[in-house]
Amino acid sequence: MFFKVGNNVGKPSAGAGVRSRVQFGGARISPVVPFVSITPVLLFIGIFIFLPVGYSFLLSIQDYRLGFSTSKFIGLDNYVELFHSDKFGNALKNSLIASTATSFFSAGIGLFLALQLSSLRKGKLFYQTVFFIPVTATMAAMAIVWRFIFHTEFGVMNALLLQLGLGKVSWLQLDATAMMAVILLSVWSSFGYALVLFLAGFAGIPRSIIEAATIDGAGYADRFWKIILPLISPTTIFVFVVMTVRALENFDAIRVLTDGGPATATQTLSHLLYQEGFLFFRTGFASAIAIVFFLLSMAISKIQLIAERWVHYE
């Protein structure tokens, strides 16, 4: 399909227009080639990404409930209901708490480790590999493991506490500790990624600057705060945002670890969306949630762009 032949070098120009504007290097080639090459991807992206996004907007202004009745347009009622509902405010709050805490800790631990590891000669690959394993491990499976670890009756956390003479903690049944468990799991599965991103970022810092500073007599603290930190700021912002977006989209961990937490204490936007859309089948309402979620991620990316520009001009 893609491998059609279209080599027209040497052929006299067969007409003006499109043909003459399709070029490879300096030579004219048949427009069939690029057309055939890009159409399939565009088709799939169109059908499975753009079309759904558009349809989402349409759905979000309907009162559509799958399997029951036909839908009717209700304008912005879904959004109104959404913003007035407790469950949305709760989910939003939880999403923000979970993702900021996760990205803060992941990036923080990642940065700390990157700084330590960067000065190692041997063992760097070993530690990188180890710290990155949680990133590759299937989150659903590891969430099951962590859920078992935090199990009130049979979990090793409480077994340890009991052995130390302290009392049991109902980790997954108290709002605060359940959220902490979610954050712990998210950080555990992400910090390795942050670490690797930081290490890659460090590689771009020229050695000469550090050496020049050392020669000039700058102390360790000076070196760190005045030279290293500014140089890694762009990377830091980048890592921070990657971690935040990753944490926002986190569905697997919450669904498996707490399924929204004791009552809805750890229910995030992604979980709420799943619940409304695929458990209650309130298709219109869930689409509104999806749109809001999308706008939220856009906002965060926008903040990143601004922060990055600010950092670069500093």
């Binding site: 032949v5 080599n7 409930r65 809805t264």
Partner: protein, 444 residues
């Protein structure tokens, strides 16, 4: 190349391509082989594939649960039916969902997506929801003239479960009731008499205290069972109810509801009840003294426990005979095709026969609707004390409440979350009930 072929440049180029790009073709062919692998898959795993049904006998699509616990009685049932009626083939569509609400949603979804279910497994609590979707077929007309269908051979209480607004829509497959399981070894260690399990709520608390002193977790009421079944049981034994059948009057938030929730809250506060959804595991691990769960687990729980397990009627506020809410499920007809309706009806009628009843009762903790089957079971297991209690309760079942309208699933979640919050002490029973009632009224 060119000399052999000659002719127009395009044709030459095309043939050049054909002869030269062997490696690309090989790559392409490899990809096609891989794609073929997917199609091979059904034959790699023949055991699970039911979708390749031959088309000669009539095919009835049956949507149901996929878990092993349900397969244990359904698969033999289907096999026995197909043996008796070789002109009908039951094609199961299994759903891996956690509860009756989700199963009902999947069945409704099947109507929307163009491959509708002919017959579906529906929990008693959702019969109304299915009827209100407009996709359930009433059975009275067809069954009236049917000589082979003897309504009297079936328990009226169970048949009532399938009746909405005077019309029969569902035939019961298996029914369970709430029951108390207790750990005999734990009782002995705690100084309790295994022959005299607690009968009243007060006695239950005392027993739980003794169990706690002996190092056990006291009692666990199965609050997290799907459909808020235990909550309804407690309400009814206090003389209350969840709501009026048309849900115009939402009654669970009344004084009975408060009493029920406060009772459990007190148990939790004293450390006599763990707040967990892991009902069976906590009991079978030996850490729990008393579990209030479903008779559906009648076979599974003793099997998984390394200690002696006995069954007893659940404790009631005053020690009266407990009112028991029917748990379980039945089958409802959804197909609009007249011819297929006949075949589907054969299947549904078979399910309530004595023979089928045996299969259900022997392979699960459920009890069938056929009176004859239950009578024979009683004779077959005269010495099984545990079983006889189960058999006794079956005549007294009250309906599992079924919320009208589209929001059954959400309402059940609101009630479940409310209970969890109350038990964990996050909100008082009165406030929790009021909040839940408000949310539910809004949805209705």
């Amino acid at each position: 190349m060119a000399s052999i072929v000659g002719g127009k440049p395009e044709r030459r180029a095309a043939l050049e391509f054909f002869f030269q790009e062997v490696t690309m073709r090989a790559f392409f062919i490899k990809s096609c082989l891989v794609a073929l692998l997917t199609m091979v898959t059904p034959w790699v795993f023949p055991a699970g594939t039911k979708e390749q049904a031959p088309s000669k006998p009539a095919v009835v699509t049956f949507h149901r649960f996929s878990t092993a616990a349900h397969q244990a009685y359904i698969l033999p049932l289907i096999a026995a039916f197909e043996k008796k009626h070789p002109e009908v083939k039951i094609e199961s569509v299994e759903h891996s969902v956690p509860g009756y609400e989700a199963l009902a949603q999947k069945i409704l979804l099947s109507f929307a997506s163009g491959s509708p279910a002919d017959v579906g497994q529906t929990g008693y609590t959702l019969v109304r929801t299915m009827v209100e979707s407009g996709k359930a077929i009433a059975l009275d007309e067809t069954l009236k003239g049917d000589a082979s269908f003897d309504r009297n051979a079936l328990y009226k209480s169970m048949m009532d479960l399938g009746t909405v607004d005077g019309k029969l829509y569902m035939l019961p497959l298996g029914t369970s009731t709430p029951i108390m399981y207790y750990n005999v070894d734990a009782f002995k260690k705690a100084g309790l008499d295994p022959q005299k399990p607690p009968k009243t709520w007060v006695e239950l608390k005392t027993a739980a205290r003794k169990l706690k002193e002996a190092g056990y977790e006291g009692v666990l009421w199965g609050w997290s069972i799907t459909g808020n079944w235990i909550f309804q049981t407690m309400l009814e034994n206090l003389g209350g109810r969840i709501a009026s059948p048309d849900a115009k009057s939402v009654d669970f938030a009344g004084p009975e509801g408060e009493k029920a929730l406060s009772y459990i809250r007190e148990l939790v506060e004293e450390g006599l009840m763990p707040v967990t959804k892991d009902l069976v595991a906590t009991f079978t691990s030996g850490k729990l003294g008393i579990l209030i769960e479903s008779t559906f687990q009648r076979v599974a729980i003793p099997q998984k426990s390394s200690f002696e397990v006995r069954l007893a009627p659940i404790p009631t506020p005053n020690g009266d005979t407990p009112k028991v809410v029917a748990g379980g499920n039945g089958v409802m007809m959804h197909t609009q095709d007249k011819k297929l309706q006949k075949e589907t009806l054969k299947f549904m009628k078979y399910i309530v026969t004595e023979e089928a009843g045996f299969i259900v009762a022997e392979n699960s903790g459920y009890l069938p609707a056929a009176r004859g089957a239950v009578a024979t079971l009683r004779k077959k297991y005269p010495d099984d004390r545990n079983y006889s209690i189960v058999l006794d309760q079956i005549e007294r079942v009250t309906p599992w409440f079924s919320w009208p309208g589209k929001y059954g699933t959400e309402i059940q979640k609101i009630l479940m979350d409310m209970q969890e919050s109350v038990f964990l002490g996050k909100i008082s029973p009165r406030d929790g009930l009021n909040q839940a009632a408000e949310k539910i009224k809004k949805l209705l």
